[in-house]
């Protein structure tokens, strides 16, 4: 689906289905340097099980126009604008990594529009190493390699995709390589500079689910504790032997957690 949000052409994957005003809506928000396709299995499931699905490409990413937004807060507001642009009064939000923080901000700033909030691979704060920031600033391929290397648990670095025939790290690397110059850096800066996670979490009034990878190096599970503690109504699902790329490493476990929650 294509729509215009904040003046820019925006793409959202819907599972090839039209938005039905009578159905509840789930918005999926990807992480830094990614696009809607990281949610392929989960978003498709909900699109065929009684939900409208909007798995968005954020501004400056994938098939969407515009330029990357400069802060997590701005992305949170953009999600609110997306709902307005598509005529959707309320929606559940599911975000991964940077997208989880943006979804959190949206839930805190647009409380009347967010019914449920699922934070996948989340942490607050979400500091980014100087090594990675520097490589991303220079649009150096090393940035893509570092993220890929840190995003998958050791076991999955060597394979074992649940999707037959897919080489997980190769696929992740190729998706990152598709970013327009400057996009990855803008995202990483937004993550690095985000500092209001706990305060925003305290403002959230909807139920919250955190899905964490026990072996997540990018957003270690322990780094989500304060955020989760600040939420009034929070549940946590921790997936064992799973890194930061939860939707790719353990697609069924992520889906099952979301099904139980949404």
């Amino acid at each position: 689906m294509r729509t215009v949000v904040a003046g820019h052409d925006t793409y959202a994957y819907t599972g090839s289905r039209a938005v039905d005003p009578g159905l509840p809506t789930v918005v999926f928000v990807h992480g830094a340097g990614n696009d809607h396709s990281v949610w392929a299995l989960q978003s498709r499931y909900f699109a065929y099980h009684g939900f409208n699905v909007l798995a968005v490409d954020l501004p400056g990413h994938g098939r969407s126009g515009g330029t990357p937004l400069s802060s997590v807060e701005a992305i949170g507001d953009w999600i609110g604008a997306l709902l307005g642009a598509t005529g959707i009064a309320k929606a559940a939000l599911v975000g991964h990594s940077m997208g989880s923080l943006a979804a959190l901000e949206c839930a805190a700033r647009h409380r009347d529009r967010v019914t449920k909030l699922a934070l996948v691979g989340t942490a607050a704060p979400m500091p980014v190493s100087e090594l990675l920031l520097d490589a991303a600033r220079r649009n150096d391929h090393v940035a893509c390699e570092l993220i890929t290397g840190w995003s998958y648990s050791a076991g999955k670095q060597i394979g074992g995709s649940q999707v037959p025939g897919l080489w997980l790290t190769g696929n992740a690397l190729r998706l990152l390589e598709r970013n327009r110059p400057g996009t990855l850096y803008a995202d990483l800066v937004a993550c690095n500079e985000y500092g209001t996670g706990d305060a925003s979490a305290a403002k959230v009034r909807c139920p919250v689910l955190a899905i964490l990878g026990a072996r997540d190096l990018m957003a270690p599970a322990k780094s989500a504790r304060a955020l989760i503690a600040a939420v009034a109504d929070a549940k946590v699902v921790t997936i064992p032997d799973c890194g930061h790329a939860l939707m790719a490493e353990e697609p069924d476990a992520v889906l099952d957690a979301l099904r139980a929650f949404l």
């Binding site: 394979g159 037959p164 025939g165 897919l166 190729r174």
Partner: protein, 434 residues
């Protein structure tokens, strides 16, 4: 700057895609010799069918043993994934039918394996897909052959049987300038010698029957997607509706939207493998996995032996010429030095300085080299292309493909090279007396 840790090729050859079996602890990849896989419940079954969950349904579409092999070759080639097929020919067919329909066109190197030439020149035109064959060394010819309806450029890393080295970076650039993908047959080189995707190719396929399995005991193919090609990018827009428009055969799925990087593989599996059915058997996948475990060791020895045999033949008075790109007089010597620094493989051809009868005597006098139609076996092989692999080609086509009546093709195996040279020496002596 600190570089990210990467797993080396040799390690990936042994481990990529595999893990100890979680049920039994078996270290080797089990052979999942099962046609179907049990669904936990009806909802799970429906989700598997609709690609909402990942997993195996039916072994024509995917199989756990084959999936390990698919991941492994994708890792070794630097791709995003792959599909295992019944043969190398099936892999080529799958690539073509996933992208092209009637009325569309391919530009291909004319120095192709005879089976590929048959498919393109004689069989596919019956289905409305035509091919223009060009000299793989002539970039202007590639360019001139591209038409508005062209959808694919195709060549072999080392042309069969003259070992024309495909200038992958330049042909890929040309293809991309026209919004077209480049498909490369990498059978002769394997990813140990050359990774076409790293040089700009978009799709790679193998006859895994050859060096990948390495022992001449199975027939199989592998098709790898780089994930790099922009099927709906500005230059390609409108050319690949199989990937960029809704597919009625799968709930109006738009494959390039479903997967930004692996839309080609999705369509190939959900249509090409599903409907044409040229899948790989799990036992075949197991044997190819066993072969790939030793690929780096075997390829190094294949190349080492080939160099010894090439040097022997090049100095022999009964030999008119040897076509091996590492030799300074080969037309692609400089290009081979750039693209194939580890070697030019172990399959090459030479011309006997003698009559057709002497050629036959030579082949029949060999004891270690087996006279058969294959390459890439651990054992050394010999064949006379004009009367076997390329027998359907006219004399004119043979000449244009660089094949002479007296050409002999060798696939150098893993025997002791002194024994191979002794075998060749004796056969050449016999030919000299014929």
């Amino acid at each position: 700057m600190t570089k990210p840790k990467t797993t080396h090729f040799d390690t990936l050859s042994l481990h990529a895609g595999a893990r100890p079996d979680p049920e039994t602890g078996a270290r080797a990849t089990p052979i999942y010799q099962s046609a179907s896989f049990v669904f936990p419940d009806s909802d799970h079954a429906a989700a598997l069918f609709n690609m909402e969950r990942a997993g195996h349904v039916y072994s024509r579409i995917s199989n756990p043993t084959c999936a390990v092999l698919e991941e492994r070759i994708a890792a070794l080639e630097g791709g995003v994934g792959s599909i295992a097929t019944a043969s190398g020919q099936a892999a080529l067919h799958l690539a073509i039918v996933t992208l092209l329909g009637a009325g569309e066109h391919i530009v291909a190197s004319r120095a192709l394996y005879g089976g590929s030439h048959n498919l393109l020149d004689f069989t596919l035109p019956r289905f409305g897909v035509t091919t223009t064959f060009v000299d793989p060394r002539d970039l202007d010819a590639w360019r001139a052959a591209i038409r508005p309806e062209t959808r694919l450029l195709f060549g072999e890393t080392l042309g069969n049987p003259g070992l024309d080295v495909l200038d992958i970076p330049r042909v890929a650039d040309l293809a991309h300038d026209h919004g077209l993908p480049l498909l490369v047959d990498s059978t002769f080189t394997t990813p140990w010698l050359l990774q076409p995707l790293a040089h700009g190719a978009d799709l790679v396929f193998h006859s895994a029957t050859k060096f990948l399995s390495g022992h001449g005991v199975v027939i199989g193919g592998l098709l790898v997607d780089s994930g790099q090609f922009g099927w709906d990018g500005p230059k390609a827009r409108g050319k690949f509706p199989t990937l960029t428009e809704p597919y009625a055969g799968f709930h109006n799925m738009v494959f390039s939207e479903e997967s930004t990087t692996a839309g080609f593989l999705l369509r190939a599996r959900r249509e090409g493998i599903r409907d044409f059915g040229a899948c790989m058997a799990p036992f075949t996948a197991f044997q190819i996995l066993q072969g790939i475990e030793t690929l780096p060791l075997r390829m190094a020895r294949h190349v080492e032996n080939a160099r010894r045999v090439v040097a022997f033949l090049a100095a022999h008075p009964m030999v008119e010429s040897v076509g091996y790109p590492e030799l300074p007089d080969h037309p692609d010597h400089a290009l081979a030095s750039k693209l194939l620094p580890k070697g030019c493989g172990a399959v090459f051809s030479f011309n006997l300085n003698g009559s057709r009868t002497q050629g036959r005597t030579f082949v029949e006098a060999l004891k270690l080299f087996s006279h058969l139609a294959n390459v890439g076996d651990a054992k050394s092989l010999v064949i006379h292309p004009a009367s076997t692999t390329h027998f359907r080609m006219t004399a004119e086509d043979l000449s244009r493909a660089g094949i002479t009546e007296g050409m002999i093709r060798l696939s150098v195996g893993l025997e002791n090279p002194d024994d191979l040279i002794e075998d060749l020496s004796r056969a050449l002596h016999a030919a000299g007396k014929a």
